[in-house]
Amino acid sequence: MTGSAVRLALEGVGHAFGTLKVLDGVDLVAEPGEVMVLIGPSGCGKSTLLSIFGGMLAPQAGRVRMDGAVAPDCLNALTYVFQDFALLPWRSVAGNVSLVLEDSALSAAERARRVEEVLALTGLSDFAGAWPKQLSGGMRQRVGIARALAVRPAVLLMDEPLSALDAQTRGLLLDEFAEMIARAGVTTVYVTHNLAEAVRLGQQVVVLSRRPGRVREIVRIDRPLAGRHIEDADLLAIEQHLWALIRDDAALADRERVDG
């Protein structure tokens, strides 16, 4: 799917919103084609970190580096998939996907071909003309994924893409995500609260501490994505280990005021 091979690194990243320090001295590296999952208690700066990764927020300390080869057909190297889908309600499914290609130099025919291709890949071909309001949450997120894949990204930045969905849809989409990410071979940074998602998708699971977020531990999972199931004993053991790491912080974060 992608010819890009991009390494993404954060070097000494720190950030504060006013007097509220949310990140402190974060160093991370996502190797080409690797899936990095960020987990941690509420308010630890996971989403802030993702915004910094993609250049949507300038860090107050440190820097973000992107090295490697970006394929010539890549139209947007750092591409987000949003928790709330961020679909334009006044555009059809195909229109939402096509939106991100319209500023490119692609011909109308090539644009249409790409839209058709990603809609087929995400199982949305029959819904090309539907309005977002006519779709279920799961289908809307598929549109979000189709839109992201349409630009042939070098890096996918996914901000809790399944958290707005019901448990059944989440389970189904999780397996599809794993398959799509594995097939695309694209460097991915995935933020989640859900530890099952983390162990299902992550090759590198980064555990962040309570605010200000610092890297507490990095857990590596060397199994390929294709053969993983969330019920696998080794993955369940890792999940328990992750929970043990964040449980106390999560309990403290839950009782913390955020108006400081």
């Binding site: 993609g54 949507m56 591409t79 987000y80 334009l88 939106l99 319209e102 630009v151």
Partner: protein, 259 residues
Amino acid sequence: MAEVPFRGGGFAPRDIPAASVGTLVGLVLLWQAGASLHWISTKFLPAPWDIARALYALAASGELWVHLSASLQRLAIGWAVGTVAGLVVGLVVGLFTLARSPGMAVVSALFPIPKIALVPLFIIWFGIGEGSKVITLAFGVFFPTVINTVAGVDGVPRNLIRMGQSFGLGWWSIVRKIVLPGALPAILSGFRITTSTAIILLVAAEMIGAEKGIGAFVLAAGNLYDTDNLLAGIVLLSTIGLVLSWVIGRMEKLLLSWR
């Protein structure tokens, strides 16, 4: 064991188009009956039938079209000028930090001024001709359009704009494909207010300094105690309002079918 009472009713009003038409027709019939039965003095409030006859006579003599076309022309030009200017200023104020505070300060200071009070001033500035009338209308339409456009731009979900930025869309693309369509519902709802405002100001401007136009016609009829023609003029104004409201409704259905 008592049956659990239903408590979830109400708070869900629906539109019943037949009820709208029925109410209007019913009121006119009641009015006509009151006049025919001499419960209402037709000297002060002519019967609907008399108004209809006055309208027919005006149409047959050609006088109706002279006044109507003069008014519609002023309405169209004044509303269009005010709307275009209001949209441009509203977008600039809504999109740029540098324009926001100064723009809103000026709008907030000038918006509450009754525009009818400015008609004599506009006549002094632009003369008794068409210029002062068009400017009066445009001025009245401009401020609500600015306010609704700014509110519309402010109401566009930030996540959609961030999505556009994250996909590398250009500034103009984001404005054209995200901000404008997102602000459209507020802009169109503003059109309902500005068309009514424009009709009020049209009549005021025509009453102060015009020979032709529905406002001038109504004023002349009033001076002659010609209540049939006076009411005929008012019916015309009401009809213009209804037609414009219908047109805006159609525009909303067409442009906001995604809602």
